[in-house]
């Protein structure tokens, strides 16, 4: 799966006018710019934008994109609503949830639990939890993910519009249809 990095990063300013109506303003900058220098430049532009527009800047978001050049096809009957929910304990004693869209059916037991002994599941979990020397991934408060608490399948709410065309109920209740 070759991911190609975009040559530019994007900075987005979110702002509101006197009525609270939101809008955004975007510019790109070189991906190889050092972050400390980029932050100074962006802060300067933020001030200039406020002076120019009179809008209040609510946030700045810097995004570095990488795109799959040769993306694999989604598997037949794959559904984004079918979530594999992984609940982790964090170093702060709280729990954090990670919901994987389209969890493969063969990883789910009849009970609805995800089989935690399958190598792909083990690799995924080990990639997220803190090891002896590293704790790269965290919860939204910066607390390291320490261990897996539970993993199960959950269906997100589905709207008729979200269903693939062949899955829309047609009123035919014949067995097999």
């Amino acid at each position: 799966m070759p991911f190609v990095d975009s040559p530019v990063a994007t900075v987005t300013w979110a702002m509101v006018d006197e009525t609270g109506s939101p809008t955004t303003f975007q510019l790109n900058f070189g991906r190889d710019e050092a972050m400390p220098g980029a932050l100074i430049k962006i802060a300067n532009t933020t001030q200039l934008l406020e002076d120019l527009t009179g809008c209040a800047i609510l946030s700045t978001t810097i995004s570095y994109s990488s795109i799959q050049t040769d993306p694999p096809s989604a598997q037949p009957v794959s559904r984004r609503e079918k979530k594999g929910v992984f609940v982790f304990r964090t170093a702060a004693g709280k729990s954090a949830q990670c919901a994987v869209p389209g969890i493969k059916a063969e990883f789910v037991k009849k009970s609805g639990q995800i089989d935690e002994d399958i190598p792909a599941v083990v690799t995924f979990v080990e990639g997220l939890v803190a090891g002896p020397t590293s704790s790269f991934y965290t919860d939204s408060n910066g607390s390291a993910l320490v261990s897996l608490s539970k993993a199960y399948e959950r269906f997100a709410r589905t709207t008729k519009a979200a269903l693939p065309s062949l899955r829309i109920p047609d009123g035919d209740t014949t067995v097999g249809n």
Binding site: T19, T23, D51, T53, G54, S65, P71, Q75, P101, L128
Partner: protein, 163 residues
Amino acid sequence: MIDTQPYTLFHLVDESGSAAGLRVFFRRGETVNSAEVAAKSFAASLGALTSLAVVKFDIVFRSVAEKDTIGQLGSDTNRRILLFVGEDEINGDIVEIPVMESGLLQNDCIEMPDVNNPAFVAIVADIETGFYKMNDGATPLIVESIATGRNYGATVSEWVAGI
């Protein structure tokens, strides 16, 4: 501005073409390069777990204002200045700037921004310093600027008149 927890957002697509996302936070202080390495490794393990296609990921650093507020009197996001950057109006990008209702537009020709306004001069100079880039990585050069309403087909005068 307060820095929030940085995260990587993975974009996935299912059989019907419906998009889904997965966001995983990572610790502060990590560089873009280290986040990229981790994201590519994570994408591989994610791809083995899901029946969806992993098509893209974004590494995101976000700062938010310390408190919610609104803009100054007269600020209006419906009015824009369009900056045409690049070789010419055809071969380039358009940058949109939300603009204050008054003070920045020429009195006698409100379709044209006052290019001598200090705030306008400052933002143009800032965009052209060389730090900001076009989508292809080239340095932008602003070749023309016009004012407009939210509807791109209408100039401000038309927009004000309700056309």
